[in-house]
Symmetry: C2
Subunit: 186 residues, 2 copies
DNA sequence: CCATTTAGTTTCGAATCGAAACAGGGCATA
DNA sequence: TATGCCCTGTTTCGATTCGAAACTAAATGG
């Protein structure tokens, strides 16, 4: 089998998801980028909630990201906080309103319905092939892979929890399941 | 296993693909929507190359699609042709320049590199789980599923080829492997 | 034959988007 | 400590996207 075909299938799924997202966003008076930003902020860890990380994640220019963040802040969906150590940096947080809006605009019923179909028609389907496909894609992606913290090569177990080998900080269970901009495979 | 998690993985792949697409488009002086439109036109069949189909496929309003098409036409990437039977309808075609631009902007090396990784690290990976996931997503998607012609319930085999049960027209091999806006499962 | 639906365009104002210039903090090195 | 470079983020500009709504014209269906 041509392994490229797998990604054709994934692209088609991505197109369907995108279309659903767009319709949702239009109903809520949002742009698709807004949803992407808020979704990212809800799933990234404390090292990755900065405008630069967003710039890399979305593949846009920093000027554009700056504009979008300005608007989201005006609308009250996100909040900026200066970094105490490095005064150049800014950390972004979803507000209560932002979280609410995200939960309404996110097409979770599309996924849960599709999940139900799978449950019924393909009960022995496992996550493994999808994890393999994601890992391969992350490796092929030239810039950052934006993977989950716990799948990073700097992630280690210690006697009382988890540790990031890059920042030497201890991590909580929740930290370890979030997206990190420093994520590196192998 | 929660089958919803499969779609979390797919979403992450979609985000990586999107980011790569955006960077490619920026380099080529395109908007992401332009690539999406041209990619769709290169993969849809003769029933589905109209502005309305694009509107449904992308989930945008028809006014926006009309604008985008105007620009792509000005740039010489697409060509419009009036439908002979129904004078309200317009058919869209990629020009030579459009095809060339598409082949340059499309992140095919990302997919072929990822495919190579899979070839090496997961040689017994099959397409089946991905097909199942796509089918489930198409069923869960409220509006059109935009699937391949040959997976449609109106698609039938005849003694000298293929037939669309909806239009009663015979189909070529190439037709049967393209995206159709009338695609219906089951 | 007339009302309704459908395909597509036009117009408007807000927002996106990339490019480029800018401000200012960190940091290395001389 | 001073200089220069890199990094993070903002601002400004003009072209384009985007949705909403009004519009034209062709098909459809009583």
């Amino acid at each position: 089998m041509q392994k490229v075909d797998v990604y054709k299938l994934i692209e088609r799924m991505a197109a369907l998801i995108r279309s659903e997202e767009r319709k949702r966003c239009t109903e809520m008076g949002l742009q698709v980028v807004h949803l992407q930003v808020m979704d990212y902020l809800s799933r990234c860890n404390k090292y990755s909630n900065t405008p630069v990380a967003l710039t890399n994640y979305l593949g846009m220019t920093k000027g554009t990201v700056s504009q979008t963040l300005l608007l989201l802040e005006r609308k009250g969906f996100i909040r900026k906080e200066a970094d105490l150590a490095d005064k150049r940096m800014v950390h972004l947080y979803l507000t209560e309103e932002g979280l609410l809006m995200l939960s309404q605009a996110y097409p979770s019923d599309l996924f849960s319905n599709a999940g139900l179909f799978l449950e019924v028609h393909n009960p022995d389907l496992t996550e493994e092939p999808f994890i393999s496909a994601l890992t391969a894609l992350q490796k092929a992606h030239k810039s950052n892979s934006f993977g989950l913290c716990k799948t990073c090569k700097f992630f280690t177990h210690t006697k009382d929890g988890f540790l990031c080998g890059l920042t030497k900080e201890t991590l909580t269970q929740s930290d370890s399941e979030k997206i990190c901009q420093e994520h590196t495979l192998l």
